[in-house]
Assembly symmetry: C2
Homo-oligomer: 301 residues x 2
């Protein structure tokens, strides 16, 4: 089944386009899961796996998709990589779509190896990719996209220095707008029944005006909007990134959800022992926030 | 010790700037190392590890550095990732500099996790990185570069569709030239005693005119030139990528070396059983080719 159709159906089923980013930092784990200040990396990898599995169990009924970031697992070497595989498998067992946040980008034969790793071996439903090397670096991923997988290209990222390359003037466009036009082109032949493509775009939610302009530029491209919560994005400012009927974007929050127990208002209300309840409430608050921001959306519960 | 100084010293010691790319494909292994057509991934990972270790043993006396590409290991999941760790460790034991070809590129906290993975856990001497997200995505790597590590930014890649983004006009420059200027700037405060920076650039050797122009643009930046051999690059055309005294670049060959046994003239002369001798001869031929191409070089044996 087409990835964008699966994504929109899952958004309808859960009643929200909220996505939970799984970026576990060992140092930030709740005390009950910590193995002390300097565990071996096998013990640390086990701890972040246990934490992430429990996060998944809490959020599975509440959101359509999760976005585990492989870097936070690779930081614990092959043991961490194995934990990543287990996280993806667990999330899929719980009925979640999994976007492997890997941001890979390499030439043909190497791209084939990465596509095999992320889709065929790990089993992700979609991946994030860099557009820097152009179309032939994406072709092995597109082949799998045509078989039901999805991808999100880094069109405009949410970090301050993204402007150094992405905002360079390219004729009458900026470089990221030229990349947006490429992404639209790659997606045009890959539309699902619900009107969206399986080739998506990462659009930094910290630039709301750009998000709106990019929505016009890529009307059938699913957006992955990072930066909600801790990176300063606001649900209100995301509104224009959605299409007219409120579809076409997923909104990601990572630290703001998974480490909610150490943030207000959850820290005072619940404390560290009730960290899973903090996760649940943070997701519920995000769902409400998004529903209020996109009142016309068909997915509103 | 400063990475560029280590690199130039190793080039002098070995008498060549040739670098061997370690991109093992299970399907291409010599028969003696194959585990049949469809091994489990653990068996396949073991086979590519055994192959790559033996390659390293053959090339260690002949070249200053190797460039294992992590994608070809990730293709076998966590077992492959573990094999990658073992490959890096083995190459360093044999006295080789290791450039982990990973082409990572992500925002701040994720970049920190990747830097930790590749430098602190795996122990690479240098890494390849994408410039698409700008300086703050590189800062965690630069911190380690300032402690003796190195990096190579993807300025101009050797694949055909690299032009789609990298060749866009950016005012009076092209985008890759603007990135080259950024890379020069990042490297200026990071010069070693031998005059080169620890912040390098990947410059596709299939574009010799650009390599020469980029050498002028980045006079103190070490170049990693891929594409020698099978990708169509020629030693002759690489000459301008070196500085006036023949320093400032390493030239990489992957398949042309490690699978030399299946290529002419080595296939006919040696056959598959003598695959290690084919590797050795292919490296010796590449060394000669480079020495002839850069006759003024101080590293010539």
């Amino acid at each position: 089944m087409h990835f964008a159709d699966r994504l929109l159906d899952a958004i309808d089923e859960k009643g929200t386009p909220a996505m939970v980013g799984l970026d576990p930092r060992y140092e930030s784990l709740p005390a009950e899961l910590s193995r002390g200040p300097s565990p071996g990396r096998a013990a640390a990898a086990e701890a972040i796996l246990a934490f992430t599995r429990r996060i998944i169990d809490v959020v599975a009924p509440l959101v359509p998709a999760v976005k585990p970031n492989i870097a936070f697992f690779e930081a614990f070497g092959s043991e961490g990589y194995r934990a990543f595989e287990a996280v993806v498998a667990h999330a899929r067992e719980r009925g979640l779509l999994v976007v492997a946040d890997a941001k890979r980008g390499d030439i043909g034969s190497t791209a084939e190896a990465y596509a095999r790793a992320l889709f065929d071996e790990i089993g992700a439903d979609a991946v994030t990719l860099s557009p820097w090397l152009g179309e032939d670096s994406l072709r092995p991923f597109f082949e799998r996209v045509d078989g039901g997988k999805g991808c999100f290209l880094l069109v405009r990222t949410s970090n301050p220095s993204s402007a150094q390359v992405q905002d360079l003037p390219a004729g009458d466009r900026k470089v990221f707008e030229a990349v947006a036009d490429l992404v639209r082109g790659w997606g045009e032949s890959r539309l699902g029944e619900r009107g969206f493509s399986s080739v998506g775009a990462v659009v930094g939610a910290t630039f709301p005006a750009q998000a709106a302009a990019l929505r016009e530029r890529m009307p059938r491209t699913p957006f992955l909007l990072p930066g909600y919560g801790t990176q300063g994005g606001k649900a209100e400012s995301l509104r224009n990134a959605f299409g007219k009927d409120g579809y076409g974007a997923v909104v990601n929050s990572s630290r703001g959800i998974i480490f909610a127990f150490s943030r207000e208002p959850y820290a005072s209300a619940l404390g560290e022992e009730r960290w899973e309840e903090a996760v649940r409430r943070a997701v519920l608050d995000m769902r409400e926030d998004l529903a209020a921001a996109v009142p016309e959306a068909g997915w509103r519960a």
